[in-house]
Symmetry: C2
Subunit: 210 residues, 2 copies
């Protein structure tokens, strides 16, 4: 068994204080090495492959190319790199976009360096660390509306509708007749004040009914 070399870190963050602060503390209080820091993605672009980082700490609000747009590029340049996002303002969409595009972790900027170092350890071990507020947003995005007007069966059928299944497939899956599925569908439409599958799916997503 070979000794794994300690992870190499690159920080891309426009605020000099934060950038240098994290770099200093990671270098001096952790086994990891910050091999380079950049104030923007555009300045990192041509050098980062040679830096050969294992983990990139990437700010979202950057001058020029922002962190979200940088993500897929970095992933293409360095397919195996772990990316931890850093941000001040976190909207649900931003967070979800970042994660959808391959971020491994997500923290707000008030995160103490010690937590960030923990996070680096977690990602290289295959985990997906997030600060509690980010996790909360993610959880919320997964959570259903507890005040749904739909019954259990209706919710179930609506959910199957959102997956693109048609009446026949839904009926088969639930071991009921197509006509029963129709009846439920009509009740769903009436409760949601819509009159098409498409609208129902939109309301469902909108109100987190499924």
């Amino acid at each position: 068994m070979y000794n794994q070399p300690e992870p190499r870190i690159v920080i891309i963050e426009d605020d000099q204080t934060i950038r240098e602060g994290y770099a200093y503390l990671i270098n001096h209080t952790s086994p990891y090495t910050v091999v380079a820091t950049y104030p923007s993605f555009d300045s990192a672009r041509n050098k980062i492959v040679r830096d050969n980082p294992d983990v990139i700490i990437l700010d979202i609000q950057l001058p020029g190319t922002n962190g979200i747009d940088a993500l897929p590029v970095l992933k293409r340049l360095l397919p195996d790199v772990y990316i931890i996002m850093l941000t001040v303002y976190e909207t649900e969409k931003t967070i979800l976009d970042a994660l959808a595009n391959g971020a491994s972790g997500y923290f707000t900027k008030n995160t103490p360096t010690a937590k960030l170092i923990e996070a680096i350890r977690d990602v290289v071990q295959g985990g997906g660390p997030m600060s509690p507020d980010v996790a909360k947003t993610v959880i919320l995005s997964l959570q259903r509306n507890p005040d749904s007007p739909l019954t259990r069966r209706e919710t179930q059928i609506l959910e199957l509708m959102t997956t693109g299944k048609d009446r026949g497939q839904i009926a088969k899956e639930l071991f009921i007749e197509i006509e029963t599925v129709r009846t439920h569908t009509k009740n769903i439409y009436s409760k949601l004040n819509v009159n098409s599958k498409a609208e129902a799916i939109q309301v469902a997503k909108d109100k987190r009914l499924v």
Copy 2:
């Protein structure tokens, strides 16, 4: 300003060692109070409202009613309670189901009590703590397939399709003609080897293309 009373904790966990271990350590090393512990949800059902907990630590694998099914019932009984799930085996579906049904946090059972106490603090402060492995699963569930055969535009259109929008709405939203949407749709179908919107959505969900 009144002093907030310290959070009251209930633990529902069938393994006596774990149950009593957590209870003891929470009571003795944290400001929180474990007001009751139960070996099953069924045994907790009639008493838990009187326990008036702020946070419930809920095991998933329970004799009788399992933790996932217990979740909605607990939420109805105690609408404002925070629930932290505890589990040994975590499949993606289990985790996502738990979160969809109102869990506030999610940990695997090897979690040290200190982390659990941190988690209790986090949830009462509105956060959504998860252990890194759970977070990883959640992140993975949000992540797109990096090897999608679709172009950017196609992905965008497929995504809009999954939200139930029809050609017309998609065209309007993207400021292009309906016929262009059609062309993209045809290309999507051909790349995904399908020939209907429904199938496309199913493949999209299946392969995490959107």
